[in-house]
């Protein structure tokens, strides 16, 4: 087999000349040994470095004879089948395999790599030695991170605000919607519509309007009439000034006392005299004595409680005569035997626990204070609290007894005392008239004694119309009674919340001998346990603990 070996000789200034040689043999050996077909003088070449076998014209097999392998077409290999045009680089020599020209079966071209080529090859093979040369970058990841956060954090939620169907789609796929902006859990009552931010945040970049609140809270009362009290800022206060949501179960009611004390420090001057409320800025330190609703009645008997500042000398008029101390004595003599009475025997909390139920004669007094009127009929009693009924009932009772006969009282006529048997002749018309006349007198006499001596007057103040003063059984009047009720209407006091206390801790009933004693405690009593916002060791009680803000009676919030 004939090999053409062409050496490229560079002669400076780009001039090139060729030197051709012929080699006979199947294999072309390359190396630094003297017997090699292609002799390389470079120290980096091994003695027997590589060999090339011509498989067919234009096809060669290149084999490395050293452990390190050789570089064929730039890649390290131990053996490779290549076509014409392939290059083998050994040290500073490049061997190019050629298509054999005429008369040859194989051909190679040998050229020396010049310095720039060697440098380039070296640089090509050099591995990166700093991170800048690797795939790592900062610019692209920065852009990517910036755009990704902006897209998922802002743009998608924004889109879900403006295109609700898209919002539902995003929520369904778990992508961020405006819900991802929620800074904190909503108040429990607002959660059922909490997915829809627009329910409250109606207009972008505007604070939540009051209309968003009053849309549902339609009956919410205002605080006071800004026009009447010369306080325009009262109308300008937003719901959100006090009620902030997204604070979770902490609730939305702002209990800070500065919300109230800001105005209630000098309300008289602020309202130009329209309000006469005393300054109240801290329950423990600056709060006037309570005003209570003292029972009173107008001329027509209508209950018109008088708002009166509490003083130690103040007496009340409940309309009753009652001695608390007497009733609280142990071992009271009663029709049913000895009995001990307690506060709860008469004062029982209402179902809500707020106040006490009205005292009921039938269930509380009647056991001892019976309303019997006739020793011949100890079971019969007059009705309570119905003045007219008393007289009617007595009339009926004595008429019946007179006509039946057998009423053995000595003042009665003989035929009334006489018991009649069945079938016996009834009274004559004259006797009937007499009997009924007696019955009438008797009933009126009994009525008068009930009202003035025996029953009513024990507890009640009984008066008589002057016009009816000479008519027996007529014109009696019982003074109106108010025992239990709301004493402090401007504040909310709940008995149920104070059930750990004893009654006598606040109400000095055991030493009270007169119903006129006002057993309702004042502020000093409350201050034993309660103080203002910075309460120290006492119960910290801000304004809202007792008072309501939304308390206007005739003005709704949405009317402002």
């Amino acid at each position: 087999m004939r090999w053409l070996i062409r050496r490229v000789l560079k002669q400076g200034k780009g001039a090139v000349s060729y030197e051709e040689d012929v080699h006979f043999g199947e294999v072309l050996s390359i190396g630094r040994a003297a017997d090699q077909a292609i002799f390389l003088s470079d120290i980096r070449a091994a003695l027997n470095h590589a060999r090339v076998t011509a498989i067919s014209p234009g096809n060669y097999k290149v084999e490395s004879l050293i452990l390190a392998g050789i570089r064929v077409n730039g890649a390290l290999t131990y053996a490779a089948n290549v076509g014409a045009g392939a290059t083998v680089e050994i040290a500073s020599t490049r061997i190019t395999l050629l298509d054999p020209p005429r008369d040859f079966e194989a051909a190679v071209e040998i050229s020396a790599l010049d310095k720039t080529e060697q440098e380039a090859a070296k640089a090509r093979r050099a591995k990166p030695t700093s991170l800048k040369q690797t795939w790592l970058g900062k610019r692209l990841p920065s852009w990517f991170a910036f755009v990704a956060v902006l897209l998922f954090g802002l743009l998608l939620p924004l889109a879900s605000h403006f295109v609700p169907p898209l919002g539902r789609l995003l929520a369904h796929t778990g992508l961020p919607t405006t819900a991802s902006w929620n800074p904190g859990p909503l108040d429990a009552a607002h959660r059922f519509f909490g997915d829809d931010c627009k329910q409250c945040h109606a207009k972008p970049f505007l604070t939540v309007r009051d209309t968003a609140c009053t849309h549902c809270h339609t009956r919410m009362a205002a605080h006071a009439d800004p026009a009447h009290f010369n306080l325009p800022q009262l109308g300008e206060a937003r719901c959100a000034s006090c009620h902030q949501d997204h604070l979770g179960l902490a609730g939305m009611v702002n209990t800070g006392q500065q919300l109230c004390s800001g105005c209630h420090a000098d309300l008289k001057t602020r309202t130009a005299g329209a309000s006469q409320l005393e300054a109240a800025t801290d329950f423990g330190k600056a709060h006037p004595e309570f005003r209570l609703r003292l029972p009173a009645w107008d001329a027509s008997g209508q209950f018109t409680p008088q708002l009166t500042r509490l003083t130690p000398q103040l007496k009340e008029n409940s309309g009753l005569k009652f001695d608390h101390a007497l009733h609280l004595k142990p071992g009271l003599n009663s029709p049913g035997g000895r009995r001990d009475l307690h506060c709860a025997s008469c004062h029982q909390p209402d179902a809500g626990g707020l106040a006490m139920k009205p005292v009921a004669f039938e269930s509380m007094c009647h056991d001892c204070h019976t309303l019997g009127f006739d020793t011949f009929a100890p079971d019969r009693q007059v009705p309570h609290a119905k003045v007219a009924e008393v007289v009617y009932m007595l009339d009926d009772y004595y008429a019946k007894r007179a006509l039946e006969g057998g009423y053995t009282e000595t003042s009665a006529p003989g035929f009334v005392q006489q018991r009649r048997r069945p079938g016996e002749a009834s009274l004559s018309p004259q006797q009937t008239i007499e009997a009924l006349s007696w019955a009438r007198d008797k009933s009126r006499q009994v009525a008068d004694s009930l009202f003035t001596g025996r029953a009513c007057v024990t507890c009640h103040t009984v008066t008589r119309d002057a016009a009816a003063a000479n008519t027996p059984g007529a014109g009696w009047k019982i003074a109106p009674v108010r025992v239990a009720g709301i004493w402090y209407a401007e504040a909310k006091f709940t008995h149920a919340k104070h059930s750990t206390m004893q009654c006598k801790d606040c109400h000095q009933a055991d030493t009270s001998t007169s119903a006129g004693d006002l057993l309702i405690p004042g502020i000093a009593n409350c201050r034993q346990c309660h103080a203002g916002e910075s309460g120290g060791s006492k119960v910290a009680s801000t304004c809202i603990a007792c008072h309501r803000y939304h308390q206007a009676e005739n003005l709704l919030l949405k009317q402002l």
């Binding site: 630094r32 040994a33 120290i43 980096r44 091994a46 003695l47 027997n48 050293i66 452990l67 390190a68 392998g69 390290l76 050099a126 591995k127 990166p128 030695t129 700093s130 991170l131 800048k132 690797t134 795939w135 790592l136 970058g137 900062k138 990841p141 920065s142 852009w143 990517f144 991170a145 910036f146 755009v147 990704a148 956060v149 902006l150 954090g153 802002l154 939620p157 924004l158 961020p176 405006t178 991802s180 902006w181 929620n182 800074p183 904190g184 859990p185 931010c197 945040h201 972008p204 970049f205 505007l206 939540v208 902030q244 604070l247 902490a250 702002n254 209990t255 800070g256 500065q258 919300l259």
Partner: protein
Amino acid sequence: MNARHESILNHARSRWLWFSLALSLTCLIAYAWHSPSVPPNGGTWLGYTLGTIAGLLILWLMLFGLRKRSYSGSSSLRGWLSAHIYLGTTLILIALLHAGFQVGWNLHTFFLILMLLVIFSGFFGVYCYLRYPTLMTRNRDSATRSAMLEEIAELDQNALALADGIDPKVHSIVLRSIQNTRLGGGVLTQLRARDDSDAALAGIRAALEAREKNNQAAGGAKSGQTIFAMVDFLASGTNDRQAEALRKLIDLLSRKKALASKVARDIQYQALMEIWLYFHVPLSFATVAGLIAHVVSVFFYW
């Protein structure tokens, strides 16, 4: 002359440390003094104030990237970096006070986490900047990397010349060793400092053990085997002149390995000093996007 070495941390008598401490203390006092009627959050007046400070701080911290590239600034870059570090650290406190320490499953907390990631990656950067330059100088031993690389190339040539005088087999082994010397590479290779020096020592040990088990364990491109092969050759009994040359060759290769190891370590230190920036910078841009999203969303649903 100030004899004390000035680092990024104590620049200008730690001016920025004191400034940051004062800022932190002011914010803490304001936070402690402030008693809003609702739980502390970004929506109170102090919350808005702290939020504004924190937002402006983030933007100012981002400006460091610009300042680093401009060479016209009147203030020193070291001063800027010192302020960047201290004010960046202060940002953690201000941001937490702004949020009233409230976190949730929402964009705002995500933004907080992003910001914290940026700051903590920065902490790693500070650690690198304080630690590695010294190690680098010590490692280079007053040479430069290119000088070391040139010396390696020279040693390679000399080793080949020596090996050639001994035996073709040795020459081939040395040649392979040259080809297998790896300096630099991908990100992980640079960070791990995978070089031939450690592998050579370990390789000898491993090869010795392997030889006990398997007499003629072949293959692999472990450069450690270069030395092992030569020791083998030495032991196989050649003439004195060759043995002498072989000893020289081993010296040369050991020297080369020491150098290669230094270069690899040099590359590693440099990579470690740079790698955190590839997190710090993109994350900081994500944080700016987070800031925009946070502010816009908060006021969008005011």
